[in-house]
């Protein structure tokens, strides 16, 4: 097995024992990138030199027997909406094409403090708006399991990079499913933490009240390890919670005896893929066999969640994207006067989907009642979860109603594009944590993901159930054969 194919915790053991160096791991990752990146397009920016330099300095620390953190020297890919000092941070948008951030996001600071090695910035839907990564202004990312299929989105680059072993760890961000859905479609693990668990300072906003950064990894243990590094209160983010951070690896117990699992009736809908439904139901069956108590539950406002989400997300996006006016930084279109500058810059700088949402959002906030109504429904959705979590420890649902679709298939149907989000969006509205883990494959060989949701700050429950499932199955160990068959 090559180094780049290992998980972070496997690498950590090897580094700890002195059997491999961070430089060797980093090099193996870049060798892999050179080999497959042309087919996958996970990255928009690679920082090979800096990465190797950083890896060597970690190795130096190890040689000098300095104390290092558990993930020291492990290569990580970062979604291109998180600011790294001195590195291009584009959000896959033309309007930020030349934006080199002069500061580090809080998560980046934490990763740096733990000596992780940054290998590059991953592709995404422009400003995270989309579920396929087709809305990137720069390139289309391909699903490593089927190069003609989308990897999901918006953190498609991060999910694809993990699925194709181009990176050991990755960070994504999740506004309506942008971590969980691509993780599901690429057959990897993606965790969206509780809103407020991970600082958003330095995460370029799509919709501030919904965005949350989280890990995309090869297995559940890696997600727990990465959560240990990125979680915690940050005084720079007023919405981050001052709630103690546990050692998430301690919840990795392969035992679900007595765990009460709810299966929401509303998450098995018409139009969903039969193979997906079967995989998820099999998974629930397995957990029941392992000792979990399964019962059907109801989340009656689920059907309004997507519409509510659309309203809120567009409204917030249209104001969060007011930053980009061509004045202080980023792209500026040639113009004769000020009004024209704004118009041309934003017209040429933003892609279609972004403009669509800005227009929708502008319409909504000039009809403020819509927004207020959406906020009320949001509360109802949240209350549904509160009620269910009074009797259940967690919920299990499919992550996405379908496996990955073909590139270009739904580009002309903006409304259809939201369909993949229907099972992931409610968790963002409610601010609760959720994970997607692999739970099978379709006959065509596309991965299927299982979503586990729990109440706020119950990441430990999620990790325990996910870990138990993973230990009793082997889906997460399957790898796509990118070079051989395609």
């Amino acid at each position: 097995m090559k180094l780049n194919e290992l998980t972070a915790h496997e690498i950590r053991e090897l580094i700890r024992k002195g059997e491999v160096s961070s430089e060797e791991v980093t090099k193996s990752v870049f060798e892999r990138i050179e080999k497959v990146e042309k087919k996958i397009n996970s990255f928009v920016t690679l920082t090979k030199e800096e990465a190797l330099r950083e890896a060597r300095s970690v190795d130096e620390k190890i040689r000098k027997k300095k104390k290092i953190s558990p993930l020291a020297g492990v290569p990580i890919a970062i979604k291109d909406n998180m600011c790294i000092d001195g590195v291009l941070t584009t959000c896959s948008s033309k309007i930020l094409e030349n934006f080199r951030s002069p500061y580090d996001a809080t998560v980046i600071k934490r990763l740096k403090a733990n000596d992780l090695v940054f290998i590059g910035k991953t592709n995404m839907d422009e400003f995270a708006m989309g579920s396929s990564t087709e809305n990137s202004a720069f390139e289309i990312t391909h699903n490593p399991w089927d190069l003609e299929a989308i990897p999901g989105g918006s953190s498609g680059g991060s999910a694809a990079t993990i699925a194709s072993d181009e990176a050991i760890l990755a960070l994504g961000s999740d506004t309506g499913g942008s971590i969980r859905q691509p993780a599901s479609l690429c057959g990897v693990v993606g965790l969206k933490p509780t809103y407020g668990r991970v600082s958003r300072y330095g995460l370029i906003a799509f919709a501030s009240s919904l965005d949350q950064i989280g890990p995309i990894t090869k297995d559940v243990r890696d997600s727990a390890l990465l959560m240990n590094v990125i979680s915690g209160y940050d005084e720079r983010d007023s919405t981050s919670c001052n709630y103690p951070v546990p050692d998430y690896t301690e919840s990795l117990i392969s035992d679900v005896k007595g765990v009460k699992i709810g299966v929401p009736k509303e998450y098995f809908v018409k139009g969903m893929d039969e193979e997906v439904e079967k995989s998820v139901k099999d998974a629930i069956g397995l957990l029941e066999k392992l000792g979990a108590k399964v019962e059907e539950v109801f989340l009656p406002h689920t059907e309004y969640a997507l519409a509510t989400y659309c309203l809120i997300v567009s409204t917030e996006a249209s104001t969060d994207l007011a930053y980009y006016d061509g004045v202080g930084y980023g792209y500026r279109a040639q113009s004769r006067n000020l009004d024209e500058m704004y118009q041309n810059t934003r017209e040429k700088g933003f892609g279609d989907e972004v403009k669509r949402r800005i227009m929708l959002g502008t319409y909504v906030f000039s009809h403020y009642d819509y927004y207020l109504k959406a906020q009320k429904v949001r509360t109802l959705v949240k209350e549904d979860f509160d009620k269910v979590f009074e009797k259940c420890d967690c919920l299990i649902t499919p992550t996405s109603p379908t496996p990955a679709f073909k590139i270009g298939e739904k580009m002309d149907d903006p409304l259809r594009m939201y369909f993949p989000d229907i099972f992931t969006v409610p968790a963002n509205l409610a601010g609760i944590p959720g994970i997607s883990i692999p739970c099978g494959f379709t006959k065509k060989g596309l991965p299927v993901g299982l979503q586990i949701l729990a109440k706020p700050f119950a990441e430990e429950t999620i990790l325990r159930v996910a870990y138990s499932y993973e230990q009793n199955t082997g889906w997460h160990r399957r790898r796509p054969a990118i070079c051989d068959s395609q």
């Binding site: 909406n81 998180m82 600011c83 941070t89 959000c91 930020l96 934006f99 951030s101 002069p102 500061y103 996001a105 958003r200 300072y201 330095g202 995460l203 370029i204 906003a205 501030s208 009240s209 005084e235 720079r236 983010d237 007023s238 919405t239 409204t315 917030e316 104001t319 994207l321 007011a322 930053y323 980009y324 006016d325 004045v327 202080g328 930084y329 000020l338 704004y342 502008t362 906030f365 000039s366 403020y368 927004y371």
Partner: protein
């Protein structure tokens, strides 16, 4: 038909804090352009605002001295519009739930107390500053995100005089509370005026114009006066009033139409949680507030028996009023102290262009000096010079008198000698006096004073001369 003017003022005040509203950048005035900026106040992608608690304290104090109800829960919104001095494409303000409501300021015009109500008071951030030079427009973001307090008054004002008085009262209240310098010339207070007319005796409100660009209280008053006249002329001509914005041109003394801003849409700010204030917090700020100028002025009249005009001058700033009261504690004739402060002290302060805080004459020193006059150690006239010296050097009056040998000569024997000498040297004048020329005495007194360099006790000299000349 008779018309009355309906005037509503909107005031922005820069509140005094060490750091900006949502970041830790300094608020120091006069730093090189864009030297006090960070990702947050520059509106860089991903940076998030965190509310500075001091800003809330200052705004609550402002609300309290303007008699507002401070709301337990208020929140921040994004006010969306594009302008190059606005780094984020929106300004953080409080639109839906302002910090405070329903206040008032009592003003005194023509000795009548009147109440101007305040609709609401809220916090918002300042924008950057545009600098136009060599055909380029440059932006300085040092000012961006400085804390502002917006105060919206009800249209209770009826004349430019009342507007001026309202602004003065508002300013002295806010200065007393230490909220802001409220200096219009320096931009720490900005004021727009909404002006409309209505037939006297009716209740309806008519179409208004918004007048901007005044940079002193005087100009606010002049602009309002002009605008009232202009609207009256326009009504006479039968023109329909149109809602619009006008710019005050201080050079020409007129208002001219300008491009107004369309009302900016607002939406709640999800990165900033609600501002939740408990009773205790508000009470502790309330307990820190000083007695307000109008109340203090009335107390001065009662307690010290000084005229209203004196009281109003002495309470014009908290520091001056504190100074006065310190003096009164040390010297029990309040009117005498008031006179010295109002004539000599204020004159010197104005001449040197400094504030009472920088004044070298302490209340103890002033009291001591007046005591010297009472004792007859120096003459009242000489005290004026001694005071100037005290103001310059910070020394005690007794010290100056001693060093410069200024002590009044009340020693009879010493004066008799000088009187005799003067009489010998001026035989003609003595003769004139004896012939009945009363004025001659004055001349002789003058000569004695000249001889003693003004130090002779004039009353005593008079007495001695009269005696000798009998």
């Amino acid at each position: 038909m008779e018309y009355e003017a309906i005037i509503g003022l909107e005031i922005h005040v820069q509140s005094k804090t060490e750091s900006k509203m949502f970041c830790s950048c300094s608020t120091e005035f006069g730093a090189p352009p864009n030297s006090q900026v960070c990702p947050v106040c520059l509106g860089l992608p991903g940076a998030l605002p965190v509310l500075n608690e001091k800003v809330v304290e200052q705004a609550v104090k402002a609300a309290l001295v303007l008699n507002c109800d401070v709301l337990k829960v208020s929140s921040f919104d994004k006010k969306i519009y594009f302008y190059p001095d606005l780094p984020k494409g929106y300004q953080i303000s409080q639109y839906y739930q302002p910090l405070a409501k329903s206040g008032y300021v009592d003003i005194k015009v023509k000795n009548k107390r009147r109440r101007v109500r305040i609709r609401h008071l809220h916090m918002e951030e300042d924008v950057g500053k545009l600098i136009h030079q060599k055909g380029m427009s440059l932006v300085d973001f040092n000012r961006a995100s400085l804390p502002l307090i917006e105060i919206v008054a009800e249209p209770d004002i009826r004349s430019s005089e009342e507007a001026g008085e309202f602004l003065m009262c508002l300013r002295s209240n806010l200065r007393y509370a230490g909220v802001s310098e409220c200096n219009m010339e320096e931009g720490s207070l900005r004021c727009d005026a909404n002006v409309s007319l209505r037939p006297l005796g009716t209740r309806k409100l008519y179409t208004k114009t918004e007048v901007k660009n005044m940079n002193s209280f005087k100009h606010v008053m002049k602009a309002i006066e002009y605008e009232i006249k202009r609207q009256k002329r326009s009504v006479k001509k039968g023109e329909a009033a149109v809602l619009h914005t006008r710019c005050w041109d201080p050079e020409r003394g007129v208002t001219v139409p300008m491009r107004g801003k369309a009302p900016a849409p607002c939406i709640s700010h999800s990165d900033l949680g609600p501002v939740i204030l408990d009773e205790e917090f508000i009470a502790s700020l309330r307990s820190q507030l000083p007695e307000l100028p109008l109340d203090r002025s009335e107390r001065f009249i009662q307690q010290y028996g000084i005229p209203a005009s004196d009281a109003s001058i002495l309470t014009s700033s908290k520091e001056l009023a504190d100074y006065y009261e310190e003096c009164v504690k040390l010297y029990k004739k309040p009117k005498v102290i008031a006179n010295w402060i109002m004539s000599d002290l204020l004159r010197e302060l104005k001449e040197k262009d400094i504030g009472i805080r920088e004044c070298k004459v302490s209340p103890e020193h002033l009291a001591e000096m007046i005591t010297l006059i009472d004792k007859g150690s120096i003459s009242g006239k000489m005290a004026k010079d001694v005071f100037v010296e005290m103001f310059e050097t910070g020394e005690k009056a007794s010290q100056i008198v001693k060093e410069k040998g200024l002590a009044q000569i009340s020693d009879k024997e010493a004066l008799v000698k000088i009187v005799d000498k003067t009489l010998q040297e001026n035989p003609k004048v003595v003769e004139d006096y004896k012939k009945g020329k009363e004025k001659a005495l004055g001349y002789l007194v003058g000569q004695v004073m000249k001889e003693t360099k003004g130090r002779a006790n004039p009353k005593l000299v008079n007495k001695l001369l009269e005696k000798k000349l009998k």
